[in-house]
């Protein structure tokens, strides 16, 4: 794996033991930072990369986002969860300049970002993916990937005319893209049009392409919805790698297994507001979160017995219903 950010951190990543050691340090550092932190919404982080204040977005009578204060810790993996329609995607839209907030300010790396157009946000190092994927249909998968790379010499009109200017850089980009594609199991689709990918593959491409940008903060909107579990698992490893390379990850996800597995910190949104924050383990036992979001089986997937019981209940209910009907 060679990433922009990589050089700063580990240089050559072939050395496995070193790698493992680094992994440990990063993760430990993140956990250390969160250890004594208060579990309340809007709590201050020691080294926030993103600080959001009073962001409001209304659609007609509906307040989709109303976030008082929230901070995202640098170098950590933060999950953003919440019921459907809580405003997570809308919140992303505000932060990344795809929609204009009715009110509010936020800073990224200390730089004010409100009102900054989307492409400048991305250039500043804050890159997002879309929940409803946006594959560039009539570009090949590889071209999709290459497009993600930043500071391409060949993207300026005049230099584009002289291939000599950008050939070597293109070569580099392609190599990087190839590595990512292998990781995301898309290498076989390298030269196919992105428009011919399946739903899950699009999700994968969307994420891989965002990583090509080499962002400081990557914001993933339900990256794993529709991705098959085995692949999800291997990609989680990759996301953890990213953290080790110094990248900050903020992601929205409904898959609690995944949240539990990789996130260092969880932020919970409901009805537009942040209602809770904390490490995954605590959050998942928070009453409010269970109520609003997790429902009955918050800790682990249903065991077979539970399942049977549930099924039984359902059956009983159904029978009662049928009876009722017949009685009418």
């Amino acid at each position: 794996m060679r990433d922009d950010t990589m050089d700063e951190t580990t240089g050559e990543s072939s050395d496995e033991s070193k790698d493992a050691a680094v992994t440990a340090t990063r993760k430990a550092a993140a956990l250390e930072a969160f250890k004594d932190m208060a579990r309340e919404p809007g709590v201050a982080k020691p080294d926030p990369i993103l600080v959001v204040d009073k962001v409001v977005r209304r659609f007609g009578g509906l307040t989709a986002v109303d976030v008082e204060h929230v901070e995202v810790q640098r170098g950590a993996i933060t999950a953003l969860i919440g019921p459907n329609g809580a405003g997570k995607t809308t919140f992303f839209n505000q932060l990344t300049g795809f929609d204009t907030a009715d009110a509010g300010t936020w800073t990224f790396n200390g730089r004010a970002m409100s009102g900054v157009p989307a492409h400048k946000v991305a250039r500043a190092g804050m890159v997002r993916t879309f929940q409803l994927t946006k594959a560039l249909s009539r570009l090949t998968v590889m071209e999709n990937m290459r497009l993600g790379a930043q500071q391409q010499k060949g993207e300026s009109f005049w230099r584009a005319l002289v291939p000599g200017f950008w050939r070597s850089q293109e070569q580099e980009i392609t190599e990087r893209a190839e590595e990512l594609l292998v990781r995301f199991k898309l290498d076989a689709k390298r030269d196919d049009f992105a428009g011919s990918l399946s739903g899950g593959q699009r999700k994968l491409l969307e994420m891989a392409r965002a990583l090509m940008v080499g962002p400081e903060l990557v914001m993933l909107d339900e990256p794993m919805a529709g991705v098959n579990p085995a692949l999800t698992q291997s990609l989680l490893g990759h996301v953890k790698d990213l953290r080790e390379q110094g990248m900050t990850v903020l992601f929205v996800e409904h898959d609690m297994d995944m949240v539990r597995d990789i996130s260092d910190w969880v932020i919970v949104m409901a009805q537009g507001a942040v209602i809770a924050e904390g490490p995954p383990s605590t959050i998942m036992s928070d009453e409010r979160v269970i109520d609003a979001y997790l429902g009955a089986h918050h800790d682990a997937p249903l065991s077979d017995t539970e399942l049977q019981a549930q099924l039984h209940d359902a059956e009983a209910e159904l029978e009662a219903e049928i009876e009722e009907e017949t009685q009418k």
Partner: protein
């Protein structure tokens, strides 16, 4: 039946000035629409401002030919900027109507009595091609092989015209192969995705609009130079439509698509017209008068395009796979 005339006029059309003019217009449209997905239905306006820029500079301001060329080019760039700043924010279908409207506004202004002193009203301007033919290196005479001959004036125009066409094709080839071209193609697919990857979509669209406009404006120059006149009504929406037809015939987003499309278009046009006229003149089609040849010719040309596009919806050079991907 005068087969020889039918044959020679058809061959003339294939390499003649119409092909040069419409080919250039179509190359411009191909940059806008084929590569960037901009539904610019105002291509005729670029040609008009170029033709008028040259004509007015030379005939009204009495400045030399080269100044006229630069004024024409400048006018095209200016038009692209004026048209682009408000419209490039719009969705594709809205862009289409706004550009048609802009082109019509320009045509109406050119033909208006108000500005008759400058643009010459509906009769346009004549008499500005002297300097161009003064540069003609070919001595007087007729050039060609067999029955396909050009006089020295036409030959000179075609020489310059085809050089410009080939240069334009080369430019398009170089650009579209480069990362710059990749960004354009990506914008065609989904702007938001490109924005999310940190590219300034507006700037690229503007560059594309200017470039396509400038290439198209050479079509306007050659129209004026060949006919020795520019008239407002020539630059109507029909001209733009034809340019689009040519692009689709040749295959959108293909370097040589527009050129080959233009050849087919004019060959079809001239061949059908002349064949029909000959048939009628020689009494092979007794129920038709020569006056009815005009409409039937156009009708058949229309039919020809329909059939060609039904047989090869992707155009001559197009990729069937690309068409099959639903871009919606």
């Amino acid at each position: 039946m005068d087969w020889l005339t039918i044959f020679t006029t058809t061959v003339h059309a294939a390499i003649g000035w119409e092909t040069v003019v419409y080919g250039l217009a179509a190359i411009g449209v191909n940059i806008h629409f084929g590569y960037t997905g901009l539904l610019n239905f105002g291509q005729a306006a670029f040609m008009a401002v170029a033709g008028y820029g040259l004509a007015v500079t030379v005939t009204v301001l009495n400045l030399p030919f080269w100044v006229g060329i630069f004024v024409g080019l400048g006018a095209a760039v200016l038009l692209a900027l004026l048209m682009g700043i408000p419209t490039l924010q719009l969705r594709a279908d809205y862009l289409a109507i706004v550009t048609i409207a802009a082109a019509e506004i320009i045509r109406l202004i050119f033909r208006s009595v108000q500005f008759k002193g400058v643009f010459g009203g509906s009769d346009g301007r004549r008499g500005f091609n002297g300097d161009f033919y003064a540069m003609n290196p070919y001595p007087e005479g007729r050039y060609g092989i067999g029955p396909i001959v050009f006089d020295e004036r036409t030959l000179w125009l075609l020489t310059v015209g085809w050089i410009v066409v080939l240069l334009a094709c080369g430019l398009v080839y170089l650009l579209m192969k480069s990362p710059w071209g990749r960004v354009l193609k990506a914008i065609r697919e989904d702007e938001d995705a490109v924005r999310a990857l940190g590219k300034n979509v507006f700037a690229y669209k503007m560059q594309s609009l200017v470039l396509g406009g400038v290439v198209g404006c050479f079509g306007g120059f050659f129209y004026g130079l060949y006919n020795g006149a520019v008239q407002p009504d020539v630059f109507g929406t029909e001209m733009t439509f034809f340019a689009y037809t040519i692009v689709i015939l040749g295959g959108a987003a293909r370097v040589f698509g527009p050129v080959v499309g233009a050849m087919i278009f004019w060959v079809l046009f001239v061949f059908i017209g002349n064949l029909l006229a000959e048939l009628v003149a020689n009494g092979y089609i007794p129920f038709m008068t020569s006056i009815q040849v005009g409409p039937i010719r156009y009708a058949l040309v229309g039919l020809g395009f329909i059939l060609l596009l039904i047989v090869r919806p992707q155009g001559i050079f197009g990729d069937k796979r690309e068409i099959a991907i639903d871009a919606r």
